[in-house]
Assembly symmetry: C2
């Protein structure tokens, strides 16, 4: 209730949030995730797990299956085809990652401002705004990438610095 | 360069981002982190680690040391005193968590819109905008909480659902 009142506040929209800022935050995290993929030992990518969880390679497949489709959905309202390709080696993961990076760089700056407000249906079931869809996608990647950091540490490798999004 | 041009785009500000939305996203994640604290076995909170990393209790101390000071800094420009209290049991962590939740609920809706744009210095060294300071604080909590999920799984406990921010 208080939130609904606040959302109607005249201050709405003064808070900075441009396509450029959304893209930079998203791609900054995707650059960090790419470093974790690079740092991960090839022979453990699809084999090492802790606590009965997924391999880091399986988590990367999830990231690749979310980011570009969500960008397309927010931009055009079309979810498009699911990402069928699931590379099983590091080089393949990085190649597909870079292909999606270039596409997301082209899509996000062209998103019409109102699309960030409009409700869309993602994964053919969740009704969220465009901004919520992107935020959830980034947050999910941070969450599972953090788990990849534990895998790296447990394997004796130093993960990249969390704050470095270069 | 392209980003700088985009940031100057007339569309700037059309993208929705209100104090209410910032607060809801932040507190939604803090509610999830609180569930992870509740789910964590008391006797492992400050003892269990993987890969030579910190205990989950130490990560919670970091979360508590960041959120409220950052909210104060964005709202008032004053970092204020560091959070000196570091509870060493679950009840103490949850009590301090709830105290900070109430304070953040009171602070964020009152933040002047321009404060989200203005550069501030956090941790007495990083120059970022108010929005970047909050975003980094939330992202850092997601990252380390995801590591807490691995600790929980490794200890044989089911973590709360990532998507449930209730």
């Amino acid at each position: 209730m208080a939130q609904a009142e606040m959302a109607g506040d005249r201050k709405t929209g003064d808070c900075p949030c441009t396509q450029a800022q959304v893209l930079e935050h998203w791609q900054g995290h995707r650059r960090l995730t790419r470093k974790v993929i690079e740092a991960f030992p090839e022979d453990q990518m699809f084999t090492f797990t802790l606590g009965g969880m997924r391999t880091f390679g399986a988590m990367v497949h999830e990231f690749l299956g979310m980011a570009l489709p969500v960008a397309n959905q927010v931009a055009t309202g079309t979810w498009g085809d699911p990402i069928a390709e699931k590379p099983t080696d590091k080089a393949g993961l990085l190649r597909l990652w870079d292909e999606h990076t270039a596409k997301i760089d082209a899509i996000v700056p062209a998103i019409a401002p109102e699309r960030f407000h409009e409700k869309i249906k993602i994964y053919e079931q969740y009704e969220v705004t465009g901004m919520e869809a992107i935020q959830y996608t980034v947050d999910n990647e941070i969450h599972h990438r953090g788990q990849g950091y534990v895998y790296l540490r447990a394997l004796g490798f130093e993960p990249p610095a969390f704050y470095d999004r270069s």
